[in-house]
Symmetry: none
Subunit: 206 residues, 4 copies
DNA sequence: GATGAATGAGACTTCATTCAT
DNA sequence: GATGAATGAAGTCTCATTCAT
């Protein structure tokens, strides 16, 4: 199903076929932007990563910032698609909250991790207009979080303000990008649970 | 007392007198680096912010990166000095943990907030050698956190691994820089308490 | 024949087609470096001499020093090519020695004179690595001189140590760059003969 | 006697007492200019070599070029003084010619060798006016050479034109600066003799 | 005489972007 | 679509020189 949606978005021109020249460019751009930062990545770096010369980039995207924006759009779309499908399988609030955390963690480690890291870390290099556009895209995403957190408060799973808690969790989760190594001692599962424990009160023992 | 220590560090050349030309430069540099980012701040920006010409900067610091590093050193020293004195007044583990959180939050909002924001956000623009030096400075700081978290676990105030918890809290706290406005509805006290609640289990009701 | 060799070296990328943009750049660079010195020639000087802007230079050469090195490589290659062909036509040792002197004098006055003057006078501005590379190129050249001088000593044309004599002649010949004017009273032929007389004993009168 | 002349020149302000601040500055300047070249030696280099700060240099000399010129003036005066006294002890033309060669070789190796190397190699960095002044100083020096060479031709010791020969010898001798090591296998005496042999016909066999 | 902060011009180099081929 | 030479603005840094203290 998700696949079908993506295909349709590709056909609409929102997303890019990852096999195409543009697609390979975005993949490499995401990787380079994450690794070296947006400003330190030159258009020559981008071009040579996909085997063309720098002048040719501008046949695909109007300018360097458009590439940054496209990377972010791709990252957000794919991350949201995944999150929707994962949430659909959880039916308890705690399960759904755990799924959100897991998805957000995963967003930074999975196929589109580079792109999501770019969304987080290179945000400031988007022009004002670009920031507005991306914010609009993210709105639905943040809405999912807030809905579930409001529900969690209603169920007394959490006590903090959902809006504040969301931001604190966002900071904690995105920062894992800087220190968490999925091949290390701490498993991805354990990390997810630890973060979940931050958010919710432990189930009260009878 | 803290003042005395700072004065002595200034005399030793570790810190810089904020009234001096170098001091004003660092203050302005911190502000600009936080506002525009290190790479987007030109040496001309820095110079004109203190009312000199760009060439004159290099009388005070060997190059632009040295200014970045000096900003970070100042920020860390002042933050640590403050933290030491605040901790000295707390005698319960929970109080000490709360003090740590409050200090770290405050580090981003107080006089040296610009400098600390730079430590967090412009880290990658330090050369390898510079990163080593700054890491060494921060070690003592992180040690304070870990000691208190280990003690908190011993006292069953927290359940998570101290190292992991420290990193999660660090992410959550530093991210507040991007959204928390101390003049808004949410007070600084409330935010501190909310974060404390993330870390510790609430006192069990009898 | 020489022409053919040069053409092949151009195709190999060792030499540069003098008609190309790079070629014109090297010609002008040689002229300017000789006239004003390497350090006093700015990249703007170089660029404007070939009718481009300074930034465009760096499409052709990585940096200013690379231009200096390329000038030297060109100069040495062309000088050696010429010397080989001139030597091939002389069959007595004295004739060959005279040809060496004439060629070296000519190297400073002919088409590649600017480049050779740069080899001699701007040597110190090459980095260590660059100096090694150029020295390697010159080795074959110096070997030609030494072989002929050793042969000349065997034939008792000269008495001095070939190595020392070579260096003395090198100094005497290259210094002509500073005073000899081929349009003056002293002809190029006479100068060549005068230098030859320094080196060899005059033919003994019977 | 030479000492007396120098002392008197110092009193007249032509030369500088080597013990004075100015004197030490010139010694260090000569050394640095020879080692690194005039353009690559900064006024800070000069100042720190004599233990002062760069601004203070300008109490002693109006500008950097004045230091270069002073170094050259010192070098030439001392070299000429020495040459005069050496020539006074030789009474054959061949002996006098040998003394000239020896003195010129020695000029590059003795106490004022740095200064003389600067005269030769950094010449171009003198302004036109400065070049005129130094040329005037050298005139007497060159006159000594020419007189002896004219005499040598009259005595059929040499055959070449004195003016041309002088320039060739000048080139050969000054170039020794780049390769001759007085601590090597070739002695200073042997080198002098080898150069003398270049100039003169060997004594004709009866 | 010395200091050292400041000047201000100018150096080399980088880089996103354009465009004729 | 791709090329690659060229642009031109902007960047960091250097350095001889000045001058108030």
């Amino acid at each position: 199903m998700t696949q079908g949606v993506e295909k349709s978005l590709i056909e609409q021109g929102v997303l890019v076929d990852p096999q195409s020249a543009r697609g390979r460019l975005l993949t490499q751009a995401a990787r380079l932007f994450r690794q070296k930062g947006y400003q330190s990545t030159t258009v020559r770096d981008l071009a040579s990563a996909v085997g063309i010369l720098s002048g040719s980039l501008f046949h695909h995207y109007q300018n360097k910032e458009a590439i940054l924006k496209a990377v972010m759009v791709e990252g957000i779309h794919h991350t949201m698609a995944r999150m929707r499908s994962e949430l659909a399988e959880e039916h308890t609030t705690q399960g759904r909250l755990r799924a959100l955390i897991a998805c957000e963690l995963d967003a930074l480690n999975g196929d589109w991790g580079d792109a999501m890291a770019v969304v987080i870390n290179e945000w400031r290099f988007l022009s004002d207009g670009g920031q507005q556009d991306i914010l609009a895209l993210r709105e639905e995403y943040e809405q999912m979080w807030l809905e579930i957190l409001y529900q969690a408060r209603k169920e007394r799973l959490i006590t903090a303000s959902p809006k504040v808690l969301r931001k604190l969790l966002y900071g904690a989760i995105t920062w894992t990008d800087k220190w968490f190594d999925s091949r290390g001692k701490l498993s991805y599962q354990e990390l997810t649970d630890t973060i979940l424990q931050l958010a919710i009160k432990p189930a009260s023992d009878p």
